[in-house]
Structures are given as C-alpha cells and as structure tokens.
Amino acid sequence: MYPAPFEYYAPKSVGEALSLLSQNADAKILAGGHSLLPLMKLRLAQPAALIDIGKITDLYGISDMGNTISLGALTTHHDVEHSGVLRRECPLLPEVASHIGDRQVRNRGTLGGSLAHADPAADYPAAMLALGAHIEVQGTGGKRSISADDLFTGLLQTSLNVNELIVSVRVPKTNAKGQSVAYAKFPHPASRYAIAGVAVWVKLENDQVSDVRVGVTGAADHAQRAKKTEDALKGKALNNDAIAAAAKLAADGLKTLGDVYASADYRAHLVNTLTAQALSAAQARAHGM
C-alpha cells in the first residue's frame, strides 16, 4: 500500500494538462483515482508522473444541451446517480451509476476516469453502448468525438490516442414516448464489479421495436453490443416470447472470460439471462407497469 515515487502536477486548464501529458513520458491522468491509485499502491502501476485534472473547472458539470445532455469528464458517479436532469431525461445513467462500487467509490470515482480506464467489468461502458453516447476528447492536435461503439477496443484498451484526454460525454435524451431503458447486473460478491451487466435502450413505434441497443459489460475483455439480439428484436412486438428468443442470442459470438468465480460458460449464460431481465424491465417500463 505504498506507491513508488512519482512526480505530481495539478494543471488548471485542459491545454496545460495536454502539454504536461506530451512532455512527460509514462505520465498518467489522475481523475477520481479509484482505479489508478489502488494499482499504484500495490505497485502494479508505477507511473513516473501523475497529472491531476481535478482543478480544471471546465471538466465539471452536467448540462442540458437540448436534444442531448453533456456530462463533464469529472462528473462523479454520485452526481450522475442523483442528477435531476438525468433522472428525468436519461434515467439509464443514474440507474447504472447506482450499481457502481459502494458509496465511497461513487463519491470519488468519475465518469471520464472510468471510461478512459476501460475496465472490462465496469458498469458505464454497457450504458454508453446502449445509449449510443459520444465521448468528446481533446488532444494536442485538437478535439474529436468518438462514438461509444468505437471507444472500447480490448482489455483496458480504448481508441484514445496517447496524448488525448476525455473532456465530456454526450448522451441522448431518452424520455420521449416509446423509449425505454434498463440495466441488469450480476455483481461479483467481493469487488462489486459486473460478472456480467446488460444495459438496454428500446424504441417502440406502433408497439413494435423500431430500434434497440444492447450493451454488454463484464463478460468479455471489453464491453460490446449484442447485435444479434438487437437484430432479432427489430420489427417485432416487445413481448415475452420475442424477448426470450432474442435474449438467447446475446452471448452468441461473445468471447466470454472465465475466472475462479465464474467460468466463461456461466458468464455467457448470465449474459443471456440478464439480457432477458433487462429487456423485460424495459418492456414493463414502456408499458407503464
């Protein structure tokens, strides 16, 4: 529990942070610190420098942008969970945030930090995929927007470039009639990370599924969409039979991981089971049940 020595910087602007990042090889961005610091305390991570972005005021806050909501990268899980605008306009995010870790973790951990770390069992990635979120990033070369579908690329891997920083996350409002969301999670009893977690967003038109996105986390080396399930639902009525048939396809093609607690087979079974649970919950909500 004693980290190796490191340099510490606390820039006041994104520009300053980016220039520090480009000047310091082997530097790490410090946001909430709830993934990085434990690794450093065990000396599993030994970055030469930490760039603490906590003093950059631009990175805070939840803003209503009209059709979308923008969340600053430093928005804590607690603030996501308790945000009035999110609860009204994009309730999947508060629901997912409420499942993260424990109260202490939610008070300190941040949205941007979680996404950049890309833990394969984190909760947010499933929600980002289900919502079709966009991750706004800034690098020395300028700004760009990454679709959630393109963000997670492998175990703890993202499509962020070395000297890029997540600035904010943009999610759509999903409160319009006919849209429904849900998250189903099977937590590890010790870490509370997802053994599997499934987030769904469904859009119904004339009682039929006109669009759907299913995000799966925890089961494979990175969060992915269950596209076979999505395809199986499109154009169908969202009833129990359709859900059961589509949910059976959720883990199809997914390279699930196994460990001491849960084998790859069992994780696949959980993905299917949780997909059915999440879709059923979304169905019930859509029908005001």
């Binding site: 529990m1 004693y2 980290p3 190796a4 020595p5 065990l42 000396r43 099977f186 590890h188 009893p189 010790a190 870490s191 001491v260 607690y261 849960a262 084998s263 069992y266 079974h269 959980l270 089971t273």
Partner: protein, 789 residues
C-alpha cells in the same frame, strides 16, 4: 436485580466509535524506523543467494538483513503438537535463510527512515531462486511422487492421529440398515480481521530490556514463547502490550516471524522499529483457517438412530506450522464428532499434512465448525436415505436431557463429559419461531411455480471455556502449557476498584462484562470498577482470549478474586463491628450482622479501614488486594439449533437467505447485548463460509483470492436479519453457570445454510455441493443432476 445479566452499554464503545482508540498503527515514537519485508513469490524454492548492496545504498535505508543475520535466534516454537502421537514439527524462522515452503514467507527485510523508502529498497534486493515442485492439495500431498516439503515428514505427513474405536465403528456400520459415504471439503478461509497485524519494538540498552507492542490475543504467551523459546532470555526482560486490537478471530493468537524480526531489529539498529502488515501481506502471511478434505461414513437403522460414524480427514497445515496448528484438527475436531447426538461408535482418523500453502491455524470455532459441518451434513444424508424429516432424525438421536453429564462414546472426548444440556428445548423453540408446517406447505406451493425454497437445520454443541490444564496439557492432549486464567482485584482507599486480568480483549467487551461480575459480587456501581488488560506489566499471567474462554475461565478468576475480597472484608468488618465473622453476611455492598441490618459496614468503609490500616485484626495485612488463578475442572458445552430458509434462483443459481433463526443456550448470560453481538458476528462468518468465502491457491501455490477484490467477505447487505433467542441451561462447571458465546454462531450457521440450499435443490436430485455455494456451482448442480424445470 443485580447488574449481572443486564444489557449495559459497552464501556469500550465511546472511544472506538469516536476514533479515539489507539491501534498499533497509531503508535509513533521518536526515531522510530520502519521495516518492510521481502516475501517469496514462489510457493516452494531454494534461496541460492541474496544480494542486498543496492538496497542498502538507497538514501534513507538504515539496514538490510537476511535470514543469515539472525541464525542465533531459534525457529519459532510449535506450542501444540497433536497429543499422544509422533509429530514431525517444522516451524518458521524470523526470515527464512535457505528455503521457502509457501508464497509470502519473508526472506529479507529493509529498515528505513520511512515505510515508503523501505518499500522502494525492497525492489533493489536481488534473490537468486531455485524453484522446486509444488503441491497445494492435502490429499495429493500424501500420495506417491508428491513433492516433499520437509525431510522429517515423509509423505508430507506432520502427524497421524486418531480417536475413538475403529473396530467397534466398523461393526456398527455393518449393523446399519443404511450407510452413506461422502467426501466433503471444508474449504480454506482467510480470517480477515479489519485491522491487519503489526508490531512495534523498542530496546532499552541500559536495562537490556525490550518493550513490544503487538496485535496479540495472548500477550503473556507471546512474551513467554518469544523470550524463552526464540531469544533464550528471561521473560522478565520483555514487556508485551496489545494496544486496541481490531479483531482477531484466532489469527492474532500466534507468535509470527515478523514479530521476532522486529524485536531483533530494535536491538540491532538501536532504534524503535515498526512493521504494519498491508492487506496483501495479511492474506499471504497471516494464518488461514479450516481446509479439510474429509471422507465421511455414517450408518443408521431404519428408525433413524445412528449406529456409527467414521471420519477420515486430511487437514492442511500449510507449508510450515503456526503456533498451535496441529492441535486444531485433532483435539478440537475429532473429539467433538459426537455433537449433540448419542452415537454408539465413532472413529476419527486425521492426517495433518504439509502443502505449499499459507499457514493454517485456529480460526473462529477452530475444529468445532469442521466437526459440526461433518455431522450436520451427515444427519441430512441419513434423513434423505431413510425418507425421514431432518428434524426427526436429529430429535431421535439427541442426548436426552436426563443423561448429563454425558460421556461421548469410545472415549473420544478423552475423559471429559458434556456438562449440561437440553437439546430438544432449543430445537422446539427454534421450530416454534419458524412455524415448520407452514413452511413446508409454502415450499411445496412455491416449487410448483418454479421457485425453490429450502430449509436447513443445524443442531450443535461446542466445547469452550478451554480448558482443564491437566486434560489439555502436554502429557494428554499435547498443549505445551496450562490453560487456567488469572485475575487480580484491588479495592483502593476510596472504594474504587481496579481489576487486572490475564485475559485479552480484542472486541469481546471484557471491560464491561468483567466489571459487571465484580460490581455484582461486591454490590458496588459498575462505574466504580475499571478493568485493565493486555499489558504483561501490571497484569497477572494469563493465556489470553480464544476458544470462548474469557467468560468461562477468565470471568471465573475474576469472580473468585471478588469472593476473596468479600471474605477478607468480612473478617475486617467483624473486627470493626466487634462481631463474630460467622454472624456476618455480605449483601448489597455491605457486611452486616445477620438479622441486624443497622449493624453494618459498607464495603467502602471497610476498604478505607483496610487501606489506612489504623486498626486491623491481629495478623491481618492492610489493603484489599486479592488474586485468583482459576483452572477449570471441565470445559463448557453450549448448544443450540439454527434454522435457515433460502430461496435459490433457478436462472442464476444465486442463493438468497430469507430467514435466519438462531436459538442458542450459552448457560447464564452476563450481558445479553454482548452475547447477541457475538452471535450475530459469528453467524455472519459462518454464512460467509457457506456462500461467499474461499481461499483459492492455483497449482503453482499462488493465492488467487489474494485481495478483498477477490475474496468475498460479506457486507451487511449480503446478510439476513437474524432472529435470535436463547434458552438457559446453566453450566454446573463454574459458579457463574456461564458457558461461552464467542464461536457458537460460526459453528452452527455454516451447515444450516448449506442444508437449506440442498433442501431447495431436492427436486434436482442434488446430494452435495462443496462450499462456498457460489451461484455457478449451484446452477451447474441444478443442470448436471436433474436438469432445469
């Protein structure tokens, strides 16, 4: 009504809940240096060489040492070899000089001005290792071709021990109408006290004396074995203090290599030295518990009466022995296998086995949870095989309440007898709380809807209040000393009382309960009594706190010291009142002439007279100061029945506890609130074993469940609300009639939960699943044996 039996608030709590209590890591002293230990990454390896020069050169480093620097110190002693058999003992040194037999053994130490520097320097030490083959499974370790850990222990067997009657049990099993044979595993657990271990030592060169602060459940014993056995110095040259200790559960009883190391370093470098364990070290270097592979055979007649029980256990000791390891799976396990039942014949055969895993020693319950698990699973198998109700099988075999004291069959308890019991009474009370008939109807209805409810029963006895010295001692059960306990009471001039006890409190609430005993005896306010403990300076020698012994042994020493105070007070009062001592009685804090309440002296008046000594009877010494060394004539035997109701989710295999009922009989109760707390905590740890916790080593001897991210200690949200009740059957063993309550919950709860899950899975034809009953294991069992409905 006296203060005994009252739920007064724990006097320890204000300092604990306000953060004022001082734990080991709070200790700071001028010039204190900090130690960090280089631990073996290999489970079995030779040390070819260690290069320390680069580490020693790091600025801030005071010294770097290896095992070769401490060869003048003896290896740590094993204080409890299994009784009556040959033991092949192998114990650790403060740092291993040549070879390691489990991951996490210390091989070098850095002492530096701060812990960060010490940790930085560890990375600069170069060890040339020669890895050796590894075995982690106790059964496999005894098979031909397994890697050998110690020259003196062929087939890795530390000892082969047995109790009971093999031939009579064979015959009893042959005479049975039904015999069930099953292998069960009682998995390894990690005690996980909230506070890890630590030690601070300071050497005074002028006096040639050591002062040691350690997270110790038995400071007197730790001092004795450190000085006399490891350092070869008089025990009077060392003072050991346990500061506030944040949980022990057995794992803080022992002398550990790090303590010896820190003490030795304090003299070597001439500065106080601190070492505080990290959680990662805690998991690899502090003792674990349980880890049995057991083959059980139980026979019964058609009417459900048990004819015999044969048990063969491989008990994993780890790579090297902790302080009392061999005694746990022998005396405290095999001898308890009759449980609450009248079993005609029992035979238990145990192999204590070395493997390349962390040390295993007593963990809350220590042997008794393992015995209870064997027996309570077996009772359910008998019920299944005969198509009987599990409650009926238990009831049928209970020792009748008129047969106490009861001596279990085949001398398995080595001459002792259960003190008192009424097992039907606790069972009936628990069943009444449950409403058993209603539950079975609800269960049947639920099954039709694809909901799987189950009920599990666990009736148990415990052996606690350990133990008569002559019984457990070296010539008999192999314990290397006595097991009496001590107390001193001084009543000062103002009537205020100081109690010192050799017992040690690390969560049990001695400062409250022992004050209750004294206040009740002397008829004075509890607030007038303070209880001091956990410092070898100023307390009489005592063996420490474990085995649910502080009340039934330590508390009785306090009681007897108070009796002696009363006796002396009466003799002095007789002098003050000019009365005959035979005519006096002690009541409500006063000594009075029988039938003449006006002719009385309060204990405070007597204490004053005794302290000033102006007028004492001929030959009486001043001051009320009495000591008792109490050696119990028997252990005590709490009992009870726990019932658990679960629902198993057919889709995921996840178990949810719907109700948990615990009816215990711990004899008379000193403080019901403290007993309730002990029962709650005990149940939590037992449920944890059934559903959540399990230490897992891979084939290379690496602890896979090496952190709290992997090892699932349950939180409050993962546990049910407990419905607790008690019956009271006083123990005839001691004058307070108390038995002990520290471990009952852990002993009873594990099989109650497992039996409930198995009951829920009955439609799937599942007979047994080894713990922890993780969702995947349950889900697989539902598929393999019966298929999903």
């Amino acid at each position: 009504m006296g203060v005994l039996g009252q739920s007064i608030k724990r006097r320890e709590d204000p300092r604990l809940i306000t953060g004022e209590a001082k734990y080991l890591d709070d200790l700071q002293m001028a010039g204190m240096a900090h130690a960090a230990i280089l631990r073996s990454p290999f489970a079995h390896a030779k040390i070819k060489s260690i290069k320390t020069e680069r580490a020693a050169a790091l600025p801030g480093v005071i010294g770097v040492f290896t095992g070769k620097d401490f060869m003048e110190l003896n290896p740590l002693p094993c204080a409890w070899a299994a009784g009556g058999v040959e033991n092949h003992l192998n114990t650790p040194r403060c740092l291993e000089p040549d070879r390691v037999t489990h991951t996490g053994m210390g091989v070098a130490v850095v002492v530096a001005q701060d812990r960060y520097t010490a940790e930085d320097a560890l990375a600069l030490i170069e060890v040339d290792w020669e890895p050796l083959p590894v075995v982690t499974n106790a059964k496999k370790a005894t098979e031909a071709g397994a890697p050998q850990l110690h020259e003196n222990a062929p087939k890795n067997i530390e000892c082969e021990w047995q109790c009971g009657d093999a031939a009579a049990t064979d015959a009893a099993l042959k005479s049975a109408d039904v015999v069930i044979k099953q292998q069960i595993i009682n998995q390894r657990l990690i005690p996980t006290a909230m506070e890890p271990r630590g030690c601070v030592a300071r050497y005074d060169s002028a006096a040639d004396e050591y002062t040691v602060w350690a997270t110790a459940q038995a400071p007197h014993v730790m001092r004795l074995i450190t000085t006399a056995f490891v350092f070869g110095i008089p025990e009077t040259k060392m003072r050991v203090i346990s500061p506030q200790v944040g949980g022990g559960f057995g794992a803080k009883i022992y002398l550990y290599p790090e303590y010896v190391l820190v003490i030795a370093l304090s003299k070597k470098i001439g500065r106080a030295v601190k070492w505080m364990e990290t959680r990662r070290e805690n998991y690899v270097a502090t003792t674990h518990g349980r880890d049995h592979i057991t083959e059980v055979e139980i026979g019964a007649k058609k009417d459900g009466s048990i004819t015999g029980l044969r048990v063969h256990t491989y008990a994993n000791m780890g790579g090297i022995l902790s302080t009392i390891a061999p005694g746990i799976p022998t005396t405290l396990y095999g001898r308890l296998l009759s449980g609450p039942y009248k079993i005609p014949h029992i035979y238990c055969h145990v192999l204590n086995v070395y493997t390349n895993t962390g040390m295993v020693d007593a963990y809350r319950g220590a042997g008794r949870p393992e015995a209870t698990y064997v027996l309570e699973r077996a009772m359910d198998w008998v019920a299944d095989a005969l198509g009987m109700d599990p409650v009926q099988v238990r009831r049928k075999n209970f020792i009748p309440s008129n047969e106490f004291p009861y001596t279990p069959a085949d001398n398995i308890l080595a001459g002792l007898a259960y003190d008192s019991g009424d097992y039907t009474k606790t069972l009936d009370k628990a069943l009444a709380m449950l409403d058993y008939k209603d539950f079975r109807e609800e269960q049947a209805a639920a099954r039709k809807q694809g909901k799987y409810l189950g009920v599990g029963f666990s009736s148990y006895i415990e052996l606690c209040g350990v133990a008569p010295s002559a019984w457990i001692g070296l010539p008999n059960q192999g314990w290397g000393a006595g097991l009496w306990e001590s107390a001193n009471i001084r009543m000062h001039l103002t009537g205020k009382v100081v109690v010192t006890t050799g017992s040690q409190s690390h969560g049990q609430g001695h400062e409250t309960t022992m004050a209750q005993i004294v206040a009740d005896q002397l008829g004075i306010p509890v607030d007038d009594v303070i209880v001091q403990h956990s410092d070898t300076l100023g307390t009489p020698f005592g063996y420490g706190s474990y085995g649910s012994r502080s009340g039934a042994v330590g508390g009785i020493a306090v009681y007897r010291a108070a009796e002696r105070i009363k006796e002396k007070a009466k003799r002095l009062a007789a002098h003050m009142l000019e009365a005959n001592v035979q005519d006096l009685i002690y009541e409500d804090g006063k000594v009075m002439v029988k039938g003449v309440p006006a002719k009385a002296k309060t204990i405070q008046e007597i204490a004053l007279q005794s302290a000033v000594g102006y007028s004492l009877p001929q030959g009486m010494e001043p001051f009320l100061d009495e000591t008792s060394y109490y050696d119990p004539p028997n252990c005590t035997y709490p009992f009870g029945t726990h019932i658990c109701i679960v629902e198993v989710d057919a889709q995921t295999g996840k178990t949810k506890i719907l109700r948990y009922i615990a009816v215990d009989d711990v004899g008379n109760v000193i403080n019901p609130m403290i007993v309730d707390g002990q029962v709650h905590g005990g149940i939590a740890q037992g449920v944890a074993q059934a559903l959540y916790e399990g230490a897992v080593y891979d084939d290379n001897g690496q602890l896979v469940s090496g952190s709290l991210m992997d090892y699932a200690v349950p939180t409050a949200a993962m546990l049910p609300s407990y419905e607790t009740a008690r019956t009271v059957t006083p123990s005839p063993v001691n004058p307070l009639g108390v038995k002990g309550a520290g471990e009952t919950g852990t002993i009873a709860s594990t099989p109650a939960v497992v039996n409930a899950v198995m009951d829920a899975l009955k439609p799937f034809g599942v007979k047994h699943i080894d713990m922890p009953l993780t969702p995947e294991k349950v889900w697989r069992a539902m598929h393999t044996n019966g298929g999903m409905s």
